[in-house]
Subunit: 251 residues, 2 copies
Amino acid sequence: MEYTISKLAKLANVSARTLRYYDEINLLKPARINSSGYRIYGQIEVDRLQQILFFRELDVELDTIISIMNNPEFDKTKALQTHLSKLEEKKSRLEKLISTVENTIAHEKGEILMSNEQKFEAFKDKLISENEEKYGEEIREKYGEKTVEESNKIFKNMSQEKYDVMVKLGEEVLELLTKALETGDPTSTIAQEVALKHKQWLTFTWPSYSKEAHRGLADMYVADERFKAYYEKCGDGATEFLKEAIYTFTE
Amino acid sequence: MEYTISKLAKLANVSARTLRYYDEINLLKPARINSSGYRIYGQIEVDRLQQILFFRELDVELDTIISIMNNPEFDKTKALQTHLSKLEEKKSRLEKLISTVENTIAHEKGEILMSNEQKFEAFKDKLISENEEKYGEEIREKYGEKTVEESNKIFKNMSQEKYDVMVKLGEEVLELLTKALETGDPTSTIAQEVALKHKQWLTFTWPSYSKEAHRGLADMYVADERFKAYYEKCGDGATEFLKEAIYTFTE
DNA sequence: ATATAGGTTAACGTAACGTGAAGGTCAATA
DNA sequence: TATTGACCTTCACGTTACGTTAACCTATAT
């Protein structure tokens, strides 16, 4: 699925200006720019945007989000786990606030006493603004200021290149598959390399990767004549060979 | 209890700069400025600040908060009720977000399917930013742009004046009490006026008003010689008379 | 053929403070 | 008595994450 800027904006409930801004600061580059100069976003960008919004929800500064997500060691699943616990914290802070309001109402009615300190207790939790610092520090500690800067540079002007990489990956899969086929062994190193590249190629367009889905696709390649024809260019039995390689790869 | 800027800042967990800014935009004026030019805040300001922070928690713009709170029809108790329901809404939005993250994790593991729409569902709730508009509109509808402007003007440069008003109120209580005492009737209109002014005077320094506390204070006036001497200036039996007036007032 | 609904860059505007600079005030201590 | 350090003051410029035109190009439906 491909999205123009307003389609994605509508999907994620952000403004088009926000997406242009995220492009400008290299937080979220479109997958490619079409012939009319329009920004085109793909599945990878949809998921990245969701991640960004999770961070934003926790009041993490955009600069910090860039550092986190462009970091080569960024672990999506781990990040999601962290989101979860932070959101739980935020929820319990909200609950505190709610009971403060309830107490204030009772206080107004003269039902209970309330000290000035109690009136502001729920506002005290600094955890949200601390998040920013924490995330930023963690990275700076691990990699140092310079590495972060460099890591950011790598991701600049990636939009068109990203698309090119994807196309190139697709070609490489075919190339490598031809060579691997000569070995005749789907468990060989080169065959496994094909499976890996095939996975990398998939993640450009797949909402998320799973071994089961990868195997499912391999099965479909064998079953569907159109796909079969595509891979059979590499040699007789290439499709079945690829399927076997993928099955080994996903063991 | 009187607070300097940093004492109040610490109490409410905001920065001193924030309080200076709130002074500047006439959102929260100090009760008075002391001889060295220091801002001094009293109980009224403490409570007003708490209200402000409740609104801020709901992402209401400061400009809008000014309009709401300077509005002559502003009802503190009603506002608290509204806070409560808005906070509940915010909480349920957070809960939605939490389950979205949980689903995304399951999706990552390949356990469930998730459409792109579902990925952003929890972000969709606009209610928070809508609050701003809603609050602002309500007021503008009721009073019109001009009235709001004028209402704001009234509250400009109120800090020193506010203190003066309080002092004047205290004097008026004594003055009126002297006159009321001549009637000999604590239930008379003028005696009830004294009780009302006494209440108004109290609310400048009391965390919150309750009839019980008002009566309790009246009792203390009678029991404590120092207070008794203060009111007895108005005439013999003035303290007991004030107590009776307050008792009638708080029935 | 033209209206209308999209897209683009460029550039200035904004909200709610943060962050010094330069200096006055207050309480305690050498 | 002088000084130190922790307060306070008023400018005044900086910052973040966009909103908001303006001026112009592109796509599509009638």
